[in-house]
C-alpha cells in the first residue's frame, strides 16, 4: 500500500488578539491508501483543526503535509480549491447541505465547480444517489428528508467526484443509533470499495469501525500511528 498522507511536525497556532493559542503542537502521521482511520480525542484536543488541515480548508503554521506525494503545505488558494474539489470529499456532523437546492443539485455542486457539463453532472449525481438509496428522492429538498437520509445525501456529494479521501467529522453525531449505524456501514462499504476514509469522532463505539485509531490529546498524538 502506498502512502497517501504524510504529515511531519505539523503545528498550528491561532492568534486571538495578541495571544497565541496552540492547537497542534507537532504532529506526525502517515496514512496509507485504502485505510479506514478514526481520529479520536476530547473536545479542544485539536482533532477538528487537524481535519481542516487534512481537508485543505486550513493551512498549518509550520510543518509539512504531503497528499498523494504532492507537498500541499504552501500551495496557493486556487490550487487548494482544486484539491478539495477533486481529491477530498467532506461529510460533516451537521450535513451542510444547501437548503434551497434539491438533493440532486446538492450532489451536483462539486461537479459544477469541477467544470462538468450539466448533463454529465446530472448523470453522475443520480448514479451516486441511487448507490446511497435515494434514487427516488432526487427532487426533494433536504428539509423533506430525515437526518439519516440527509447524511446519505452528504455522502453522495462527498463521493460524486470520486475523491481519494473521504473526511468525515462526527458523521453520526446528529443521528439516532439506527441511522448512525446505517451511515457507518456505508463508510465501511466505501472503504471496502477502495476509498480511504478518515473519520473524526469522540465516540469509541463509532471509532471501532475503523481499522486504526489515532488518539489526539492537547494537540499531540498519543498513540496509534502505526498500523
Amino acid at each position: 500500500m502506498s502512502v497517501l498522507i504524510n504529515i511531519q511536525d505539523l503545528k498550528k497556532e491561532y492568534k486571538m488578539g495578541k495571544i497565541r493559542v496552540p492547537a497542534l503542537n507537532g504532529i506526525d502521521i502517515e496514512i496509507f491508501d485504502g485505510e479506514f482511520v478514526g481520529i479520536m480525542g476530547p473536545s479542544g484536543s485539536g482533532k477538528s483543526t487537524l481535519m481542516h488541515i487534512l481537508g485543505c480548508l486550513d493551512t498549518a503554521s509550520s510543518g509539512k503535509y504531503s497528499l498523494s506525494k504532492q507537498n500541499v503545505s504552501n500551495l496557493r488558494k486556487n490550487k487548494l480549491s482544486a484539491i478539495r474539489n477533486k481529491q477530498i470529499g467532506f461529510v460533516f456532523q451537521t450535513f451542510n447541505l444547501l437548503p434551497h437546492l434539491n438533493i440532486q443539485k446538492n450532489v451536483e455542486l462539486p461537479l459544477m465547480y469541477g467544470g462538468y457539463s450539466s448533463r454529465k453532472r446530472a448523470k453522475k449525481a443520480i448514479k451516486v444517489l441511487e448507490e446511497v438509496g435515494l434514487g427516488n428522492r432526487l427532487r426533494h429538498k433536504p428539509s423533506e428528508l430525515s437526518g439519516g437520509q440527509r447524511q446519505r445525501v452528504a455522502i453522495a456529494r462527498a463521493i460524486v467526484n470520486d475523491p481519494s479521501i473521504i473526511l468525515a467529522d462526527e458523521p453520526t453525531g446528529n443521528l439516532d443509533t439506527n441511522s448512525g449505524n446505517d451511515i457507518l456501514s456505508i463508510f465501511s462499504e466505501l472503504n471496502e470499495q477502495g476509498h480511504t476514509v478518515i473519520m473524526v469522532t469522540h465516540d469509541p463505539v463509532v471509532a471501532k469501525k475503523a481499522n486504526r485509531i489515532i488518539h489526539i490529546v492537547d494537540g499531540l498524538i498519543k498513540d496509534g500511528n502505526n498500523s
Partner: protein
C-alpha cells in the same frame, strides 16, 4: 475549472425567485430610478425633436433673417429700413447666398363681396417660397414676371381664404385691399404643427395661414408708395455655412449704417444651437437627479447584499469546501447583484414606457423613447448593480471557510 456565467445566472435566478418578496422590495429603488431615467431621456428627446421641427417649419437651419433691432434705441436716427438700391447692393455682395428675399409687411383690411378680414400683407419676391420652404397649394405663387410688371396679384393663406370665400373657389377672384383690386392667383399650403403645452391654440403655425403675399414691387410702387424694405431673409447653401454667411451679412449691414446696430441678424443654426445649449442645462440636471435616485437604490441593494451574504455565510463555506475558488464566489455574488438590478431595470423600463403617455398628456409634450433611451437605462441599471455588488462580492469571496462552516 471555473463556474460559468450560465451557472452564476442560474444560481442568481433561483435565489431571486425563491425570495420573491425580498427581491421585489430590493429592486423598487432601481425600478423607480430607471423609470425616471426613461421618462427624462424621452422628454429630452421629445423637446429636442420639437425644437428641430419648429426650426424646420420656419425655413430650416440654413435660414438667416434681418429685421429691426428693437433693443437699439437709435439715438442718431439712422435709417431703419433698406431702399431697393441697398437691397441690390447687399445681394451683389453676398453671391454665396442661395436664396434672397427682401420683404415688407403691412396690416390691412381685405374685403370680398360683403365680407371683410383684417390681416397682414407681405411684399415679397419669388425666392420667398425657397427661403421659407412654403409654396402655393392651388393656383401658383408669385413669379419674376409679377415682380417685373408690378402685377396686381395676391396669394392668400388658408385662414383668409376660409374667412372671405368660405367654400367658394377663390382663384381669379378679385379682392379689395386699400381701395385696390387684387386678383387671387394662388392659395398657400395649409400650415399645421401641433401646439404642445398651450390650451385652446391647437395649431402653433396658425398665424402663417392668415398671411397674404403680393409682389414687393407692387407693394412699393402701388401700395405705400414708399421705398422702404424692413426685412430680409436669405438662405445659405447649407446649415454649416450659415454662421459664416451671417457674419458677412452683419458686417455689410453695419457698414451701411456706419456701425450702428439698427438691424438684428439671426441665424437659425445659431439659434438652434443656443436653444440646445439652454436645454442641455435642464437635461443635465434632470439626468443627474435620476442618477442620484438610482445610486440611492444601489446603496440599498449593496446593503441588502451585505445582509444576504452574512445570512448565507454557511452556504459560502459549503461552496468553498466542495471546491469553489474565491473568484467563483466573487463572480456568483456580483452576477447576482447585476442580475437583480437588471431585472429591476427591465421592469423600470417597462413601467417607464407605459407611463410616457400619461406624462406626455400632463406636460403637453411628446415623449420619444428611442432604442438608445432603453439601452442607456439598461446599461445604467446594470452598472449600478456592478458598483453596488462589487464590495459585497469581495467580502463574500474573502470568507474563511472554516469559520464560515461554523457560522450559525
Amino acid at each position: 475549472m471555473a463556474i460559468t456565467l450560465n451557472e452564476s445566472l442560474k444560481i442568481g435566478f433561483s435565489d431571486f425567485w425563491s425570495r420573491k418578496i425580498r427581491s421585489f422590495v430590493t429592486v423598487i429603488g432601481i425600478i423607480l430610478g430607471t423609470m425616471s431615467i426613461i421618462v427624462v431621456l424621452s422628454l429630452m428627446n421629445g423637446i429636442k425633436k420639437k425644437t428641430l421641427q419648429w426650426m424646420m417649419e420656419r425655413g430650416g437651419l440654413s435660414k438667416i433673417t434681418v429685421r429691426r433691432n428693437w433693443q437699439y434705441d437709435n439715438p442718431t436716427n439712422a435709417r431703419e429700413y433698406f431702399t431697393w438700391k441697398e437691397i441690390e447692393l447687399i445681394r451683389s455682395l453676398i453671391p454665396d447666398a442661395k436664396y434672397f428675399n427682401p420683404q415688407l409687411r403691412h396690416w390691412i383690411r381685405f374685403s370680398y363681396k360683403d365680407k371683410d378680414y383684417r390681416s397682414s400683407i407681405w411684399g415679397v419676391v419669388p425666392d420667398f417660397k425657397y427661403v421659407e420652404e412654403w409654396d402655393a397649394e392651388s393656383g401658383r405663387f408669385l413669379s419674376d414676371f409679377d415682380i417685373d410688371q408690378s402685377n396686381d396679384v395676391i396669394v392668400i393663406g388658408t385662414k383668409i381664404q376660409e374667412e372671405l370665400f368660405g367654400s367658394e373657389n377663390p382663384l381669379n377672384k378679385l379682392i379689395t385691399a386699400h381701395g385696390r383690386r387684387l386678383k387671387v392667383i394662388g392659395v398657400m399650403k395649409h400650415r399645421y404643427m401641433k401646439n404642445d403645452g398651450a390650451v385652446g391654440r391647437d395649431n402653433a403655425l396658425s398665424y402663417l395661414n392668415r398671411r397674404t403675399f403680393v409682389p414687393l414691387s407692387t407693394m412699393i410702387k402701388k401700395g405705400t408708395g414708399e421705398d422702404r424694405i424692413t426685412r430680409l431673409s436669405i438662405k445659405a447653401h447649407d446649415a454649416k455655412s450659415a454662421p459664416a454667411l451671417k457674419e458677412k451679412l452683419e458686417n455689410i449691414i453695419l457698414n451701411l449704417r456706419h456701425g450702428k446696430p439698427v438691424f438684428q441678424i439671426e441665424s437659425a443654426e445659431e439659434e438652434a444651437k443656443e436653444m440646445a445649449k439652454n436645454q442641455k442645462i435642464f437635461q443635465t440636471i434632470f439626468f443627474i437627479v435620476s442618477i442620484v435616485s438610482l445610486l440611492v437604490g444601489g446603496i440599498v441593494i449593496a446593503n441588502i447584499m451585505l445582509a444576504s451574504i452574512q445570512e448565507r455565510t454557511r452556504e459560502i463555506g459549503i461552496r468553498i469546501t466542495v471546491g469553489a475558488r474565491r473568484f467563483d464566489i466573487f463572480f456568483q455574488f456580483l452576477v447576482q447583484t447585476i442580475l437583480v438590478t437588471s431585472i429591476g431595470g427591465l421592469f423600470g423600463i417597462i413601467f417607464g414606457l407605459s407611463i410616457l403617455d400619461i406624462v406626455s398628456g400632463y406636460l403637453g409634450i411628446d415623449l420619444i423613447a428611442g432604442i438608445n433611451v432603453i439601452v442607456i437605462a439598461l446599461i445604467v441599471s446594470a452598472g449600478v448593480g456592478f458598483f453596488s455588488g462589487i464590495i459585497p462580492a469581495i467580502i463574500a469571496s474573502k470568507l474563511n471557510p472554516v469559520e464560515a462552516l461554523r457560522y450559525e
